[in-house]
Symmetry: C2
Subunit: 208 residues, 2 copies
């Protein structure tokens, strides 16, 4: 229909309202033409009232995904926009991307020997209004880790450890930190791709 | 200790007895130094008596992983060798890599709308003897697919569809074929990496 992909039926690519190269690459690899527009929102300001009100982390992820989608949608009339976010909680405590390797070490030490939850949310929006949202969960159990092994891991992983909310990249060296993984890989990487596909098929932009 | 990786403690890289680039890349990304030696075995001859005897598919995968590991180990004394194999079964029927796109289409049509099982097995061997083995399972549910959508998918995926036992690559376009994924990504890609790590730590070649 457009020559972009025999499975993608819309006249223009999906607008991805996320600066995450992982999400962009995941969509592109799965045959979805994407253009990235990084949303200009203050994520901590969006989530602050929700966290203060004790909102569950799936609702926080969905609210952030929605804020990103709407921010981009308002500037791009007529385009289908995908916002996405991921939250990490461990026994109810929310974690954020570490800013330094020292913070990453503290965070991994706090997660070691315990099971944490990743909530990955998406919102599809058009013309400034949300059309559909979804959230998926993954549960990951880190093995007990000594301070020495955490230091060796971070030596090896380097600044890449700062690019993910848990201080690890499961598709790389981070795999060595884990005992158990429940949930699909897409959700762990930050986008519940199978649920996004269902929504795109329901919107008739992806071949059924 | 060796300069290869701060987490890898052996004096030489792991010998991977598998021609799969996916397995090689997965291990390398996770910080395991690997050298590939493709085993010269007749896989169909190894599995024929097992299939004739009605052996379960996890046992078939383990036997193939063992045959690969031993074939390479015999030629490389002193080296730690990793053999791996994956089987796909759907309602008890074993599937193999399709040889042509027409076979891939038939196979995907047979799997569509159903849940199939992937068993990924590994065997670690040294000096011609197996040291440890493990098998993990993943269950994948394909959505119902028309002949038209299968044809479009294969047009788009091309010869890559022939490189995997199910005719799909879940990390690429193949994701669009699925409704549900249970099991970790490593197992789906053909190597139960977390179980391999446990074995390597028990053998004192990977940092604990």
């Amino acid at each position: 229909m457009t020559g972009m992909s025999p499975l993608w039926l819309a006249a223009s690519p999906l607008l991805l309202a996320s600066g995450s190269a992982t999400r962009r690459d995941m969509l592109a690899a799965a045959g979805i033409p994407v253009e990235v527009v990084k949303p200009q929102i203050d994520e901590r300001a969006v989530e602050a009232p929700l966290l203060a009100a004790g909102s569950p982390s799936d609702a926080v992820a969905a609210a952030l995904a929605c804020a990103k989608a709407l921010a981009v949608s308002q500037d791009h009339p007529g385009r289908l926009v995908l916002g996405a976010d991921q939250t990490l909680t461990c026994d109810g405590e929310a974690f954020h991307k570490p800013a330094t390797l020292a913070q990453a070490a503290d965070q991994i030490a706090a997660l070691a020997g315990r099971t944490h939850e990743l909530h990955s949310a998406f919102v599809l929006a058009r013309d400034g209004a949300p059309l559909v949202e979804g959230v998926a969960i993954a549960r990951l159990t880190m093995r007990p880790l000594s301070a020495d092994i955490i230091a060796r891991y971070l030596d090896c992983a380097g600044p890449a450890a700062l690019s993910s909310v848990g201080g690890y990249q499961i598709e790389g060296l981070g795999a060595q930190l884990f005992d158990r993984i429940e949930g699909d890989h897409f959700t762990i990487l930050g986008l519940p791709l199978l649920a996004v596909f269902v929504a795109l098929r329901d919107l008739d932009v992806l071949a059924r």
